[in-house]
Amino acid sequence: MSSNSFAYNEQSGGGEATELGQEATSTISPSGAFGLFSSDMKKNEDLKQMLESNKDSAKLDAMKRIVGMIAKGKNASELFPAVVKNVASKNIEIKKLVYVYLVRYAEEQQDLALLSISTFQRALKDPNQLIRASALRVLSSIRVPIIVPIMMLAIKEASADLSPYVRKNAAHAIQKLYSLDPEQKEMLIEIIEKLLKDKSTLVAGSVVMAFEEVCPDRIDLIHKNYRKLCNLLVDVEEWGQVVIIHMLTRYARTQFVSPWKEGDGLEDNEKDFYDSDEEQKEKADKRKRPYTMDPDHRLLIRNTKPLLQSRNAAVVMAVAQLYWHIAPKSEAGIISKSLVRLLRSNREVQYIVLQNIATMSIQRKGMFEPYLKSFYVRSTDPTMIKILKLEILTNLANEANISTLLREFQTYVKSQDKQFAAATIQTIGRCATSITEVSDTCLNGLVCLLSNRDEIVVAESVVVIKKLLQMQPIQHGEIIKHMAKLLDSITVPVARASILWLIGENCERVPKIAPDVLRKTAKSFTSEDDLVKLQILNLGAKLYLTNSKQTKLLTQYILNLGKYDQNYDIRDRTRFIRQLIVPNEKSGALSKYAKKIFLAQKPAPLLESPFKDRDHFQLGTLSHTLNTKATGYLELSNWPEVAPDPSVRNVEVIELAKEWTPAGKAKKENPDEKFYSESEEEEDSSESSSDSESASGSESGEDEEEDHSGDSGEDSGESGSESEAGKGRAAKHAKARGKGDSKDVDKEKENSKSSESSSGESSSIEESSSDSESESESESESESRTITKVSTPVFVPGKTHVLLHRMSGKGLAAHYFFPRQPCIFGDKMVSVQITLNNTTDQKIENIHVGGKKLPMGMQMHVFNPIESLEPAGSITVSVGIDFCDSTQTASFQLCTKDDCFSVNIQPPVGELLLPVAMSEKDFKKEQGMLSGMNETSTTIIAAPQNFASSVILQKVVNVANVGVVPSGQDNVHRFAAKTVHSGSLMLVTVELKEGSTAQLIINTEKTVIGSVLLRELKPVLSQG
């Protein structure tokens, strides 16, 4: 091995040397760019060689380098053919890297990508669940529209896989297929519906995600699963929790009535927020109003509460928004503590959480008031965090805490971060308007800031003071005078404009100063900013109207300057003002009202939080963060006036579950109790009887396992599958025979139990088996899938049948054989492989299946048209035919570009079966049920050497696709299978008698096939 790698090193060394040589020549060549390009080509050539080599180490190294190229964003698409060849590599790492490559480039090279599909189809049948899952992942990630039907089938099949991990991947694949081909929506919804019923915690999150993406409006699919989702929620993985909680929030808003009482204002019973005793609160609620909460509504609120303790910020936020949107307002208080805890997290988490707190704190101040100090700003916080914290502090400000806050703000104003200092000044302004007690204090404070050395601070103060003065029509002559003086020093345009506006507005209160200000600004008019110029014009106009004696000339001077200004806005304004205020013959009636127009009482600006209008977005969403509707945002509907029928969420207690009761624990005393509320009941009892439970530590472990019992049967995955199959069958038969006969049921239960333990499940699961059993039954019922475990064929006969002879097919020959594999196109189909040969010396083009003549009910899945077949070439395609468990012939036409040939496939009866793995005990039980009419038998006479067990086995499996049942007796051989279409069992027994006779017995519901099989087997077994 080491020599291998050495050899490879040499090789790659050589590659590098040539590369170097290439680069050296490129410097000589006139176009450097071309040289570079060719060296790139050269490198890929080298990679191609490595990929073609037969050493895995070289291939792996090449793949690693290619992945490196992809990671850097370099184009590696031209290597596609070389890479795809390795898709079936035995080395798992090479395979994985090929998958990575394939997913990246398949979209660009669709035709070549198709080459790899068959590999995945094969892998989908692999006994290893990881391989099945990853095959599905890659197959569904190849965005090639042609394979949509194949993907569809693969997803369908995987959604019924025994491994929850594969089912989880199927849920992911649904979204991929939907984005590739939205027309498949209806079919996909069916699969989603099926997967929603899945009880595995692993699947829940992914399928809800698929639901949200494909059909978020089909809220009706959730009803039956609502309680299950609520109860599973705690055990779902964290990412799934987020998605489920968001979905359930939307659900709750459509299905329950509002728990908020009318006129529940901002300050609703604040004291209740901190009341930890939930019970008391509930009582209080009930006293106040007749509203009673739907128990399902309560279930959701209660079951999400523990998740506030999650380490995942997204989960905590999801629960917080759920409480905010659907919990009674008195209970939403508990989320604030958890949200404040998140503030210790990373900068990005802080940013989002603070935004949401900001929105919440506007509506319900009380929630966050106790945590006021947690929002104090540190000098090390990034600016955006500082500003958000400031926003929250402002929202929380009230008469009680404003003095502390103002002191805190004083520190902030002095901050070296000037953007933050400016924001603080605006905040002070907002506090001044919202809390009238401190407005004077604030104003004084702001005026003090006017003498600050930093210009930005001063400018911001001026703007805020302007707004404040506008709101308070009281005399503030002193402040205005002070600000007029500032005009000499301050240069920030907004501030200057604000001062000028203020003086103009109050020009009658400062009659001496105003004209002087106008005089000064007239001098500097040309060098002012546009914003300031406009205000100078305004000031001039206002003074002209109130004090025309002093200012007439000045105003006219300014108007003349404005007339020739470069900015058209200013020229327009000048023209407008001149027409309005300077009386001349043309000016109409309007100029009489000029004073009223200019010096009208102006409404004061409202200082509002920028988070004011965000509350119409659902909290915790991207749309909320951006304050615009993001693509795919789902509106949170308003509470309905009247709750829709709550009984839709009831899950019928399945008849069988009732039947079990005498056998199992006497648990379901009241039939009204819903099926899923079981675990909830347990939860309650465990909470109340916690003392007794705490006696032993291990018990709590059990407790948790009880919670999981729903999926434990499935979780055991492959190993437990057999027992599951047994259970499922038991259930089916119990149903077939209808009610009653509890004794029999008991026995069956015992059986299934023993098979469970024999298949090596842990004892804890067995303990809770009565639970899990009844649940798994309900599942098997509702999903009505065939649970009988299909095993791999014992033997695949290589015998091929002629479909089309080359003479009659004008050179095109076709053979078919039965690979005895479950068909990928549909589980009721028999898969048939057709090998096409071109025996002519010309290309045969466009080989496809033409018209089909199938008997009633029969279906056929044809192969994709073959574009061309080279001379002497051969190609194998697979088709699926649903023979409806009959030996009728499937006729269809095999067409080429020029001709059509009618061909027939008639299946031997043995190929209509799929082998089934079964224990001897099960076999006997099943056989016992299939007696009488369902049994056919015959006696065989043959030489004793033909009755050696290996010979019998060989002969039987050659004729029919059956599975061998391990037998405890030497003289009895048993075989089991099921029919492909209906899934009915087919049990074959060969019992050796004394002498050279044997009894051949076949038990099946499908008596016709049974007798045909008997007829076929008899000569085979008896001949020598």
Binding site: S163, E348, V353, D454, Y633, E687, G697, G701, D703
Partner: protein
Amino acid sequence: MIHSLFLINSSGDIFLEKHWKSVVSRSVCDYFFEAQERATEAENVPPVIPTPHHYLLSVYRHKIFFVAVIQTEVPPLFVIEFLHRVVDTFQDYFGVCSEPVIKDNVVVVYEVLEEMLDNGFPLATESNILKELIKPPTILRTVVNTITGSTNVGDQLPTGQLSVVPWRRTGVKYTNNEAYFDVIEEIDAIIDKSGSTITAEIQGVIDACVKLTGMPDLTLSFMNPRLLDDVSFHPCVRFKRWESERILSFIPPDGNFRLLSYHVSAQNLVAIPVYVKHNISFRDSSSLGRFEITVGPKQTMGKTIEGVTVTSQLPRGVLNMSLVPSQGAHTFDPVTKMLSWDVGKINPQKLPSLKGTMSLQAGASKPDENPTINLQFKIQQLAISGLKVNRLDMYGEKYKPFKGIKYMTKAGKFQVRT
């Protein structure tokens, strides 16, 4: 959900890209660069940036921007939390998370990312599971792989993925069974000019390093569990047991993990273990300012304060400083105006101090704010909140494990305003 991921270094190069759906051109990052330019500092780049067709959600860690491209509505915290988990995973795999390390291990990085997301939705984020799927590179393993031709990629589904304890792998074996718990508390405080506390909070975590054979079931109880009223748990902790009995009961993950974090909020009284005496003044007329700080112990419960460092961002007007420390070493960077003083241990008999002058820009007016002082320190063997572990019991396995508990108090965001 998550469409693509771009890794961008501090100089603005995209050095890794990964797509989980159709390829998104890297030109989408131009919007990010634009925002980065506007923000001037890396810290101020908004975590959510809308572009005409996509949304860019980013986190900034280890001087690398992890930019996720999103196309439709998704809870932003979902993506942000996931990106942080990616960084944590890289750190877990490679020890450090830096550009050269990621570039060196690009294949492993790619394989890990491939497993973490499927179609943009998280698939396996638990480090125990990931490590079974893709083994972290070690020197030994690299050597073994080249010789035997085996790979880093596991071919079986990790058992944890399907079990009810997804965080723990099965078949764990150790010769020395040990379980260590570190109770670490950080004090976040703002102290005002006069030395009084404006706000103080304690952020505590219990980090565990558990190396136990089999499937141990642990319980951890506290002397004073009342302190813990605001906690978040690792998923392994049984919540109901905590609710009813205030006992932590859990089947631990294998190796290092954070068992719980808790928050003792501002309403409780928090002991502040250090004080800072300061005298910083700028005079209007002269170009010299006075600078003097002294650090001393306050409520330390008889423990020594170690690892003290003082940092302070001085105003722009300060040109240089000439200071003399009574102990430790100090540096002043005249470009960033950052003063840092590595004090070391505080000896209560001889308090460390730093005295000297600052030279100010001539002619400029004096800065209107005095600088804030940030403090770092450590106190061993002490949890400042008073939290104490009562006992640790193990069920489910027969052997006797070695147990250890360590306490430590550190300064978190500890600021003194002057």
